[in-house]
Amino acid sequence: MEEDIDTRKINNSFLRDHSYATEADIISTVEFNHTGELLATGDKGGRVVIFQREQESKNQVHRRGEYNVYSTFQSHEPEFDYLKSLEIEEKINKIRWLPQQNAAYFLLSTNDKTVKLWKVSERDKRPEGYNLKDEEGRLRDPATITTLRVPVLRPMDLMVEATPRRVFANAHTYHINSISVNSDYETYMSADDLRINLWNFEITNQSFNIVDIKPANMEELTEVITAAEFHPHHCNTFVYSSSKGTIRLCDMRASALCDRHTKFFEEPEDPSNRSFFSEIISSISDVKFSHSGRYIMTRDYLTVKVWDLNMESRPIETYQVHDYLRSKLCSLYENDCIFDKFECVWNGSDSVIMTGSYNNFFRMFDRNTKRDVTLEASRENSKPRAILKPRKVCVGGKRRKDEISVDSLDFSKKILHTAWHPSENIIAVAATNNLYIFQDKVN
């Protein structure tokens, strides 16, 4: 009897009903390309939407280029693994751009199991004047052809098409959490909970396993891989973070299987902060190299830390994102918010770091001045050309006007994914199913 109920539950979740459709719009990843001209978002429904920055026109010097939709395509579909009776979510976990090498754009997008390489190209001309086909494309009888002509290219409305060029499948038993393009532009890695695989873009039926932390006996499992990234300049170096709050830096020249790390970054736990949830909040949700390659930044539940690659014993900087949540961990555990995986990003010059929080707040920390600011991404505050007002969370005692108390925070409005333009002060912030793009104030 119970089995029937369970089956129904599973069937219902698999079908797209109305409420499910709304959930499909939740943005699950945001990424600028290497020039900042394009901004890609992936959502829970498996779609990718690419925005392109308008060319700045001389007529409107006051308007910086705005981002408009450039292309939309369905990257991944829900799949069903019949062997394991498992549904594979179509949610896009990560998008990573390849550097542009010709007129087309290439990006990698991944769900839990499969990575795909997409080519996004423009078509603004079309050939006309075929000999063997007529204008509608029907074949002509060669016997009726009396003259020959050379087809010419005529302009047409711009069409942007996305085609899947490679599908990298069946290499991951666990859920893929990261992909990272190598600086050699020929390889990339994909990381799941227990393994990291190295791929060549040209080869889809093989990948090299470079990290495997699966214990022989799964009951001895103590940690999983949570994020991984290649070094921006050294194609042999990458890092991966773990659920235990540690980061390992590996050198692929050392051995084929990089289970032994070259460097191990861990900060000793503060015993005064110990609680039931210490382990959960120390789990690293994101790791990012700085553009310079000298630093790595990690995000755990309550803090962002910057590490110098040359010092493994502790981070050089620690920023509190929302320490007022420390006393609320039990409630956050109950409503599952404690498992939220926040990402973090560097600005182009590595001087400012940004990460998200709840209530549609996001935080920026200036590493040089040590100043920080909390901003909110919401429709009310975001009329075009409005200036964002800094927000403040009141942690206790008297609440000033404009401050918001911890208990009033809306934990369903979380900013997990943000992106920073590679060279300018333009940021993209994903708030559930809305994308906000903010720019520096123009005089």
Partner: protein
């Protein structure tokens, strides 16, 4: 006392999460379940180590009320004759000799009847232990398979003398990691005595490692102990979250009565309820045969996934 209630609450929440994870789209998320099981372990340790005399119903005479280490150290006999375990750090004042006593008591605890004579936490925890044994067996030769149980009982039924402490790391979901060669005695477990409870519980929990993620039909695990060591390795490579299911089945059995009695107990616990356990107040550990009888329907509900 507050810690205990808090810990209890956290344990029940964690169980709910593990249970729900089996129905969510995309399959079981290893990372989240790992974290939940860490919390479960911590909460359970606090729960069992927080001495609270009022919480246990009257046990047999001579049972000191506040030795959770001893109480849980009564697994069914037949787990070899384990060497007296060193008292793990988690146990406040649990002297080794008391654990010895518990160990010596274990032959009694091999079947239902002695269980029935004990009341209070001892029963529940022992049945939990037994259930853990069975589930743990299916998961390989590691000691007990479930690290959520305090080190005491695991030590009592340990195959190998390794214990946590001394810097040896524990697998969250199971065995101590045999890092430093202290497990010199890797005794294989002796076959268990005939235990009717075991047989009845054989239908429960742990859709073994192969069957666990998602909604595969349950592979009835075979509870022969002898073949355990190879079992995990034999399974083909897939998401091995079978131990998660074991957790659920274990805790389901021991907590079904508890949670039903507590106010606002989770709906999932109510699902599997059979007869009413004999608890008289919410929050009290109830026990006894009814709990054991409850095990089956509860586990069937979970195992249906």
């Amino acid at each position: 006392m507050e810690f205990k209630l808090e810990a209890h609450r956290i344990v029940s929440i964690s169980l709910g999460k593990i249970y729900n994870s089996r129905v969510q789209r995309g399959g079981i998320k290893l990372h989240k379940n790992l974290l939940v099981s860490l919390v479960l372990r911590s909460a359970r340790q606090v729960y069992l180590s927080d001495p609270c005399p009022g919480l246990y119903l009257a046990g047999p005479p001579g049972t000191p009320p506040q030795l959770p280490g001893e109480l849980v150290a009564g697994p069914p006999a037949g787990w070899g004759e384990p060497p007296p375990p060193p008292a793990p750090a988690a146990w406040p004042e649990s002297e080794p000799e008391q654990e010895h006593r518990a160990v010596l008591d274990t032959p009694r605890a091999g079947d239902l009847e002695p269980e029935a004579t004990l009341t209070g936490a001892r029963n529940t925890l022992q049945s939990t232990e037994a259930a853990a044994e069975e589930a743990g067996d299916s998961a390989g030769d590691s000691a007990g398979g479930l690290d959520i149980f305090p080190e005491g009982p695991r030590a009592a039924r340990h195959y190998c003398g390794c214990l946590p402490g001394g810097g040896e790391k524990q697998g969250v979901l199971g065995a101590p990691l045999h890092g430093d060669g202290r497990c010199a005695e890797d005794k294989p477990p002796a076959p268990p005595p005939v235990c009717p409870r075991k047989r009845s519980a054989a239908g429960m929990g742990g859709c073994g490692p192969a069957g666990c993620p998602g909604s595969t039909p349950l592979k009835k695990p075979r509870w022969d102990l002898e073949e355990q060591p190879g079992r995990m390795e034999e399974e083909e490579e897939e998401m091995e979250t079978g131990n998660v299911a074991n957790l659920i089945s274990i805790f389901g059995s021991s907590f079904s009565g508890l949670l039903r009695k507590s106010p606002g107990g989770g709906p999932e616990e109510a699902e599997g309820e059979g007869s009413n356990p004999e608890a008289s107040e919410p929050g009290q550990i109830c026990c006894d045969k009814p709990v054991l009888r409850d095990m089956n329907p509860w586990s069937t509900a979970i195992v249906a996934f």
